[in-house]
Amino acid sequence: MREKYEDMNKKELLQIAKVYGIKGRHKMKKEDLIKAIKKGKKPLKEIKKIEENLKGEIKKKTLQDHLELLPKEPGVVFVNWQVDTACLETNEGELKLVGGKKEILDLPVKISEGKGYIKVEEGITVKATIGFKKRGHFKTVISSESIVVPRGSALKKTELKWGKIDFKKRKVEKKTVTTKPTKEMEKKKKKLEKEAKKIKYIRYPKE
């Protein structure tokens, strides 16, 4: 992992020696360069101090503008944003959620930052946008990626497709199969669903 000085060539060692400000480095032989670099290293104590600092609060706010939309559970998504509003005309804006082509939410928000958990329809694909109204038109400031809202129940589709994976081509070859859902299996699936929801599995550490 950590590269050994002995394995480095002289050019690489010279780059490191430059970082340490080792004088006369260009005239040194490889062995002397290595000795000088090792001597020039800072004590572990100082590093430990840096490490302790790194475990403290995160000093830096995320500098880039961002808007995240994440799935949490059936019908619930998490939205979080931060925008540098210095060059915007206003900090008063709107958060819109769009599912398909339909607008499903429009909330007044501060454009600069915010977060929240929002209830939406299960199973749809949604996208979040933050912007503001200008002369009656919505002006987009930032948009999220689209996500699928988790669904907490089975679908009632009946279409059946079958296939065989061609692992070399990484494709699915479609096949015709006559198997149909049986009443017994439908009953079994309902039982499985109920059972799976009921079981509390042990996790370590315990959830």
Binding site: G56, W162, I199, Y201
Partner: protein
């Protein structure tokens, strides 16, 4: 004779990457030493016992990149040997001095056990568990699979490029450790959402495992329930958890590990020993913590100080009873399922590997007994790995699995909630910055390259699901919070040094030694 069904046991082996060269004794490093001595080595011994008895069996096990990296780390392995030696010395002193009767016998039992573990680890395996499991993999008994790079919950990762890096590094780490491509992957926390299949397919992954509802709620309802895999359009097979098989072992209410004759997890001599012995053998500062030496059985619903002594023989009797019961129930299940579907069903039971041995002390013995019994005595079921089931039944229903995880509640609230949601904006922005830097630095100097590689490691370690999990479940909250912040701050510190062209080589070298996961990493993977 044709069997009526297949049992597929899948063990997920994972620990977060924890390495602290800055301290000689660091308590959280014990997670690894406990897992090796209580789970991974006993499981290896159980599998090799079966091999020596010529029992043909199939079991699947994931080995995550952080675990693989730690099992190959010289410092951690050296400290693991110290961990074993200290316990051997402590037990020797205990059983040869004050202890009497059954307690003395138990000290002797543990002494022999740790001696044996030390011998297997050092003499048989030469300290290389990866080699040991790899041999079983090559012999076709153990199907090893990989996992995403740092166990990130992929549906909570916004950037597709980062998702891809997670899968790519999972595959690369596996190839470097075991010499060939993995056929399967364990998605961290069995977490899935639309589109992940395309990334898996691109990197040659043939199958993965989801919780029951990931299959049952698929976009085309599965004709076989979870008794057969479904396949996605991009050519990845998805197997679902069979709750019947899982609950007997893992249910908090009715699982076998709760039997009163099994060893009690919470009563540990680490809390009873005099400070002098703790300082001498367990921790120089004299902290009380789990030593792995536990002398009592569950006994019943009684306080810890009322627990009775552990009876190893009685516990092993229960192992046999429970293994027989487990096989019997799977046989009944297979017969029933074969009556309602037109193919031999697969009953897939996924577990955390650390459940066996660390949490449920007798777990590896139970697995050994189940695999032995199924091979020698069952005319109804046999064990199989998911890939071989696909070979046997190559034609499967095409359907897109549902967004899901195997965490509490079945989705993502364990990792995304009021206590942890501060993490994700950082991961998002850091990921974007890493991609930008990878594109920008086309011809870096040697030092810049090393720094960019280390930034990649810090980003990936910050993405680990473990920190959010520990914060949510209230275990090691301070440590998990500190580590999350450490990786984020380390990333930004390095970035600042890069931008200012003022690289602190000493600090970089320290990080390279401490967060030494993926020694082969090249930041260009983020391009």
């Amino acid at each position: 004779m044709n069997k009526k069904g297949f049992l597929s046991i899948v063990l997920h082996s994972h620990l977060p990457f924890v390495k602290h060269p800055e301290e000689e004794f660091f308590l959280e490093e014990n997670w690894l030493y406990e897992a090796i001595s209580e789970s991974y080595l006993p499981l290896y011994i159980a599998f090799t016992n079966l091999k020596e008895k010529s029992a043909k069996f199939q079991i699947t096990m994931s080995m995550t990149p952080p675990l693989v990296s730690m099992l190959q780390d010289n410092l951690l392995l050296k400290r693991f040997n110290r961990y074993l030696k200290n316990r051997i010395e402590l037990l020797k002193e205990e059983f040869s001095s004050t202890a009497k009767g059954e307690i003395k016998e138990l000290f002797k039992f543990y002494y022999d056990r740790y001696q044996d573990l030390y011998r297997v680890f050092n003499d048989e395996l030469k300290g290389d568990l990866i080699y040991g499991f790899g041999e079983l993999f090559n012999e076709g008994l153990l199907e090893l699979i990989t996992c995403s790079a740092t166990h990130e919950v992929l549906p909570l990762e916004i950037n597709d490029k980062i998702k891809e890096v997670q899968v790519y590094l999972g595959v690369e780490t596996f190839i470097k450790a075991f010499g060939r491509e993995p056929r399967g992957i364990w998605l961290a926390e069995c977490a899935y959402t639309l589109g992940i299949d395309r990334i898996l397919s691109k990197h040659g992954i043939k199958f993965t495992i989801l919780d029951t509802h990931g299959i049952l709620y698929a976009d085309m309802p599965p004709v076989y329930g979870v008794s057969a895999p479904i396949i996605s359009e991009s050519g990845v097979a998805f197997f679902g958890r069979d709750p019947e098989s899982s609950k007997q072992v893992w249910s908090a209410l009715e699982g076998y590990p709760g039997d009163f004759n099994y060893r009690e997890f919470y009563r540990d001599i680490g809390y009873d020993l005099p400070e002098g012995l703790i300082k001498k053998y367990l921790h120089p500062a004299g902290f009380s913590f789990d030593s792995g030496i536990k002398l009592h059985k569950i006994t019943g619903k009684v306080p810890l100080n009322k627990k009775e002594s552990y009876d190893r023989n009685k516990a092993m009797e229960m192992v046999e009873t429970h293994a027989g019961n487990f096989m019997f129930n799977r046989e009944l299940e297979a017969k029933y399922l074969l009556g309602i579907i037109d193919r031999e069903p697969i009953m897939l039971a996924p577990f955390d590997a650390e459940l066996f041995g660390h949490w449920w002390f007798e777990g590896p013995d139970f697995l050994e007994s189940v695999l032995d019994k199924v091979y020698n005595f069952s005319n109804v079921i046999e064990t199989i790995n998911p890939y071989d089931y696909l070979v046997k039944y190559p034609v499967n229903q095409i359907s897109e699995p549902s967004t899901s995880s195997w965490g509490d509640g079945g989705y993502f609230k364990v990792w995304l909630n009021e206590g942890t949601d501060w993490i994700y904006p950082y991961l998002h922005v850091m990921g974007q910055e890493m991609i930008t830097l990878a594109k920008k630095y086309k011809n870096p100097t040697l030092l810049e390259k090393r720094l960019l590689n280390q930034m990649s490691r810090e980003l990936l370690l910050a993405e680990s699901s473990d920190w959010a999990f520990l914060i949510s479940v209230g275990t090691a909250v301070n440590y998990a919070t500190n580590m999350e912040k450490f990786h984020i701050n380390a990333f930004y510190t390095l970035e600042q040094e890069l931008n200012n062209k003022k690289i602190n080589l000493n600090f970089l070298e320290y990080l390279e030694e401490k967060d030494s996961i993926f020694p082969f990493i090249d930041y260009n993977i983020f391009k």
